[in-house]
């Protein structure tokens, strides 16, 4: 049976001795079971493959900042040339950045900043995403009406920043009322149940639902459709996952906020290679969010 | 010294102990007698602080004692040997014996050599040869019982409540225990003793209190009683000779065991059992009797040898095979291998033969209820209702239920491992006649019993085991206790 174990290992390829000039990138992804991050990570992997002389080790932090720090420590002992970090948290992933810098390994942050700046940052500010989404709501409602907000897992950076962005808009439009807000932990089924309950509790008192991501927006959408009151409620999410885009195109979902996963992924690899080859690299590459509505959907569908 | 004053106890509305007053004097052996379910264990548990009384109180050295837990009672000097064996399976023998009274150093760290020494001393006092470093789970039932006794002796208590301490013991250990009791008595220790073995009572007791249906019938000096009178008090009627007449067996061989071996437990065991015959396996504790019958029931298959049943060889991998062939068994380890504690009495009884009350895969509740009712009556099992969880029944009644379970399946060969353990004298008589009834109806019984009189009067033949081998096969009609013991003793 030990033999069986050994053969299990031999199935995996040995990390070959590195050829001179080859660049090894370590990439720690926030959570590969989340669709958006998975898309971004896939872009990183695929894009790195197209570059000659580049190796990549990808690991998944499964939303645990502690684990992510461990992974950066592993990268340091693996002696990678450069690290791409897709941080789990703004604060809690900071030591990961500090560790890498202390070890003299350049580090690129993607999609989320940390307290300590990396050598480069590719991405967008989640506060903007919340802001853009709520602005769209405000515009649709003419600055007046009841809104429900569905949070992601409480206390995560994305949830906090998207909420902050949304709150800015509420402050701007006194007529906009936050009727209720509640977490559905990024989960579609939970968002669906939550929305069903809200339909009972706040019937007629809300005209829009803003969900912190598209999964939850889809859940809210399904609940509203089932109750037959979708036409009275404006629903918007963030991320522009495939299903959400389709729903926007079909006119079911009103809008989503596009975050360029592929662009961020590719950008981070480019930055990493520049840093690894000690070439100058721009400190920040902000890829803006875009509001996706049925009117401008076509280019996003691909 | 210790006094029970108008003690009473209810369980969920059922009064188990009517207001009862008894006093126990220093240095006496006070026997508590009564049928199964009379309330003996309950009374003892109240005295030991395990149950809080619902009425009355306990007086200890002249002051009212209000024991909130066994811990309080132990501190006051009252220890108890429980009827239900309570080993901690994954601690060692020494740790079990000293549990709750470990010899400790200055920082509550355990002094292991002292602990071991203490255990050795206590076991020696009981003349038991058990290695103190063994894990409790590797012990036989009898050895476990010895450890329980040692545990209570080790508390240096002024009162020791002994609830059927000899139920699982064989003659040798019983004798050792009695010697130990004599020494305790000489030191002024009070012993409260419960048993269903009549001879023990008159050997030991100074005074006897009799309980019937939770009520004290009376207390009198042992010298004023004789077995017949005592039984009359306990049962409320007279009991004729409890051993029924044996009929000669048939010639038809039902079971033939040859060269059955599973080292190191037993080897080369061969014997035959005819229809209509009762054969007893005798031997000292650890002689391997339980292991041999376990193999015939498929509980722990032998490694070599042959079992022929009804003329055909049997391969037994588990009890299902045995049951399918027509072999039933009542195991010795009631708690571990018998009871399903949370199931009701009735469901425990029908468990093995459930198929008989089924239409297809579905249970016919009516038929089941009828069968249960008749069995409960037949075996005089005392319970509030057939759905009462069996764990709540008194020890003897649990044993009767298991016997009923085994017989419900109507097996041809019935293996009984210590079947009358903890059973009162009246019920014993019923079981004995049931055993003869089985033999008469052309079935066969393989009996393991540590009570030699029982084995001698019930069985046609006695197979004596010594250290896992057959030492002799005796004709019960001509053999006596000395002969059996002589063969059973290691040379």
């Amino acid at each position: 049976s030990l033999v069986a174990l050994m053969t299990a290992f031999s199935g995996c390829k040995k990390t070959e001795a590195r050829k001179p000039g080859e660049v090894l990138i370590g990439f720690s992804s926030r959570d590969l079971s989340a669709e958006y991050t998975a898309k971004l990570s896939e872009a990183v992997v695929e894009y790195a493959k197209t570059k000659p002389g580049v190796g990549l080790v990808m690991v998944d932090a499964q939303s645990d900042a502690q684990k992510q720090i461990s992974q950066i420590e592993n990268f340091i002992s693996l002696k990678v040339d450069v690290i791409i970090l897709n941080p789990c948290e703004l604060e809690a992933s900071t030591p990961a950045v500090d560790r890498a810098k202390a070890a003299g390994i350049p580090i690129v942050l993607v999609n989320q900043v940390t307290k300590s700046a990396g050598n480069a940052y590719i991405g967008s500010n989640d506060v903007d995403a919340g802001h853009i989404a709520m602005e769209a709501v405000a515009k649709k409602l003419g600055g007046k009406g009841g809104v429900l907000m569905i949070h992601g897992i409480m206390g995560t950076s994305a949830q906090l920043q998207r909420e902050t962005g949304a709150r800015e808009v509420f402050a701007k439009y006194p007529g906009l009322k936050l009727v209720d807000h509640q977490t559905a932990s990024w989960d579609r089924a939970k968002a669906m149940s939550l929305t069903e309950n809200w339909i009972q509790a706040h019937k007629g008192k809300f005209q829009a639902i803003f969900a912190h991501n598209d999964e939850m927006a889809m859940g809210a959408l399904l609940a509203l459709e089932r109750a037959g009151i979708k036409k009275d409620v404006y629903v918007i999410g963030i991320d522009a996952i495939a299903q959400a885009l389709t729903a926007v195109k079909e006119g079911r979902l009103d809008a989503t906020v596009f975050q360029d996963a592929v662009g961020q992924g590719k950008g981070s690899v480019d930055a990493a290679l520049l840093l690894a080859r000690k070439q100058p690299c721009p400190k920040e590459n902000l890829i803006p969010f875009q509001l996706v509505t049925p009117e401008n959907i076509t280019p996003f569908l691909k | 010294m210790l006094q029970a004053l108008e003690l009473s106890k209810d369980f969920g509305g059922l009064t188990v102990l009517q207001p009862t007053s008894v006093d126990f004097l220093p240095g006496e052996v006070h026997a508590l007698m009564g049928e199964n379910g009379a309330g003996k264990s309950t009374l003892m548990k109240v005295l030991a602080g395990l149950y809080r009384p619902d009425g009355g109180h306990v007086e200890w050295r002249g002051v009212q004692a209000d024991f909130a837990s066994p811990h309080d009672a132990l501190v006051a000097g009252i220890a108890m040997i429980h009827q239900e064996l309570m080993p901690i399976p994954d601690l060692t023998v020494a740790e079990n014996i000293t549990l709750g009274a470990e010899p400790c150093g200055r920082f509550w760290q355990i002094n292991r050599p002292a602990q071991r020494q203490r255990a050795l001393e206590l076991l020696k006092e009981l003349e038991a040869n058990i290695e103190p470093d063994r894990l409790m789970r590797t012990l036989t039932v009898a050895q476990t019982q010895v450890v329980e006794i040692a545990k209570a002796l080790g508390r240096r208590a002024d009162v020791i409540l002994m609830d059927e301490p000899t139920a699982a013991l064989s003659e040798q250990e019983v004798a050792a225990l009695f010697r130990s009791i004599a020494r305790l008595k000489a030191r002024g220790v009070t012993i409260v003793y419960t048993t269903h073995k009549m001879d023990e009572v008159f050997k030991l007791a100074d005074r006897i209190s009799v309980l019937r249906d939770g009520r004290l019938v009376g207390t009198s000096p042992a010298s004023e009683l004789n077995p017949a009178k005592l039984i009359q008090l306990m049962v409320g009627r007279e009991l004729a000779d409890i051993f029924p007449v044996r009929l000669p067996p048939t010639d038809e061989v039902l079971l033939e065991v040859s060269n059955l071996t599973r080292e190191p437990a037993y080897r080369d065991i061969s014997f035959r059992l005819h229809r209509g015959e009762v054969v007893a396996l005798a031997g000292l504790m650890g002689a391997g009797r339980t292991e041999v019958v376990s193999a015939i029931y498929g509980l722990q298959p032998a490694t070599s040898g042959e079992i022929r049943f009804k003329g055909r060889p049997l391969s037994l991998r588990d009890p299902q095979d045995a049951l399918a062939a027509g072999i039933g068994m009542v195991t010795e380890d009631r708690k571990g291998l018998g009871l399903i504690p949370a199931l009701g009495l009735g469901q425990n009884v029908t468990l093995t033969a459930l198929r008989e009350f089924c239409r297809g895969q579905m249970i016919d509740h009516k038929a089941e209820a009828v069968a249960i009712r008749s069995r409960v009556a037949e075996f005089t099992i005392k319970a509030t209702s057939p759905s009462q969880p069996i764990a709540q029944l008194s020890g003897g009644n649990q044993q009767k239920a298991l016997l009923a379970r085994c017989l419900l399946g109507d097996p041809d060969l019935i293996i009984l491992d210590e079947p009358t353990r903890g059973i009162d004298i009246g019920a014993k008589a019923e079981i004995y006649s049931a055993i003869q009834g089985l033999a008469r109806s052309g079935k066969a019984v393989l009996l393991v019993s540590s009570e030699l009189p029982e084995a001698l009067s019930l069985a046609h033949r006695i197979v004596v085991l010594r250290r896992g081998s057959v030492a002799a096969t005796l004709d019960a009609a001509t053999a006596d206790q000395e002969t059996v013991l002589r063969h059973a003793m290691p040379l």
């Binding site: 590969l32 089932r226 495939a242 | 399903i340 949370a342 579905m362």
Partner: protein, 311 residues
């Protein structure tokens, strides 16, 4: 039916808590007691309910199944993969979902019975394995584009939500089975005292295998229902569902040590959890406090219930 009576009395404390919470909610909110909302509650509890019924069997044998949530996801993904419009009749994806669940359950059962590995470890292993497989099969993306026949499984039938019908029939069947079938009795016996059950001729291994397999099958059903409800096979769905399901069962009086418990108890447990979730949402309690209140009510309910049944 004395057993039933005894049981309802036993769980009387729990029933009281459920009614008290319900009464409180119908005072505080004006929607709780509406037909529409009670239908909601029923719909929302049905997935947890199906899982809870399944895991009741496993818990009764003194086992545990931590893989529920992941297997829900895996079955959902498997079902959705075969449910694209025009691909197959609706029975195929349903069968695929159910069988996936049952297969996982059987693997659990075999490892527990033949392998002798503790159920906690086996099902913890299955938890990560099934999650991994769900992600692998789906490529980490939700499997969307499900046929409307399948998603209509989350709709209504004669005004009653189909998930609720599923749950109701599963619960009724399980209740009937445990009471009236020999195998049902054997499950209690195995959980009550495995060695004694074996000595009494109960086929312990087969009984356990059945319990795990059935639990897996029902988990598969929950996966299909969930996929229909959220119109996707979501590889990361069902996170921590096992905790809610086991909690419901244990609240309902089933012992983790096995051998004790009933489906009616499980139903009450499921209802209590569903009621709390719905009620707190209706009252608009902030999600931080929701967590605290939910914990307190659950512990409190069990505490009351046990006090009640002791006296």
């Amino acid at each position: 039916m004395p057993a039933l009576d005894r049981h309802l009395l036993h769980r009387f404390g729990l029933l009281l808590v459920i009614l008290a919470v319900g009464l409180g909610l119908s005072f505080v909110t004006d929607t709780f007691l509406s037909v529409a909302n009670l239908t909601n509650v029923a719909r929302q509890v049905s997935i947890n309910g199906i899982l809870a019924v399944g895991v009741t069997f496993v818990l009764l044998t003194a086992g545990v199944d931590l893989s529920l949530g992941s297997v829900v996801a895996l079955s959902g993904v498997a079902c959705a993969t075969f449910a694209h419009p025009g691909d197959h009749t609706v029975f195929i994806p349903i069968a695929v979902g159910l069988l996936t669940g049952a297969a996982c359950g059987l693997v659990n059962g075999v490892l527990v019975t033949r392998g002798g590995v503790a159920p906690f470890i086996v099902t913890l292993g299955m938890m990560t394995i099934a999650r991994g497989l769900a992600l692998i099969f789906s490529g980490g993306r939700p499997v969307a584009n499900m046929s409307s026949e399948l998603t209509s499984l989350a709709g209504d039938f004669l005004g009653v939500p189909i998930p609720v019908l599923c749950f109701a029939s599963v619960a009724t069947g399980a209740w009937f089975f445990l009471r009236n079938f020999r195998l049902g009795r054997h499950i209690y016996a195995v959980g009550g005292n495995e060695n004694a059950a074996r000595a009494a001729g109960v086929p312990v291994e087969r009984v356990k295998l059945f319990a795990y397999g059935l639990c897996g099958l029902l988990t598969g059903l929950a996966g299909v229902v969930l996929a229909a409800r959220i119109t996707t096979g979501q590889p990361n769905a069902g996170q921590a569902y096992e905790l809610d399901a086991i909690a419901a069962v244990v609240i309902g009086g089933t012992s983790l040590a096995g051998g004790v418990g009933t489906i009616t108890g499980t139903l009450l447990g499921v209802l209590l959890i569903g009621e709390i979730n719905n009620g707190l949402d209706l009252m608009g309690v902030s999600s931080y406090f929701q967590a605290v209140i939910k914990g307190v009510i659950i512990v409190g309910a069990v505490w009351l219930d046990r006090r009640q049944s002791r006296s």
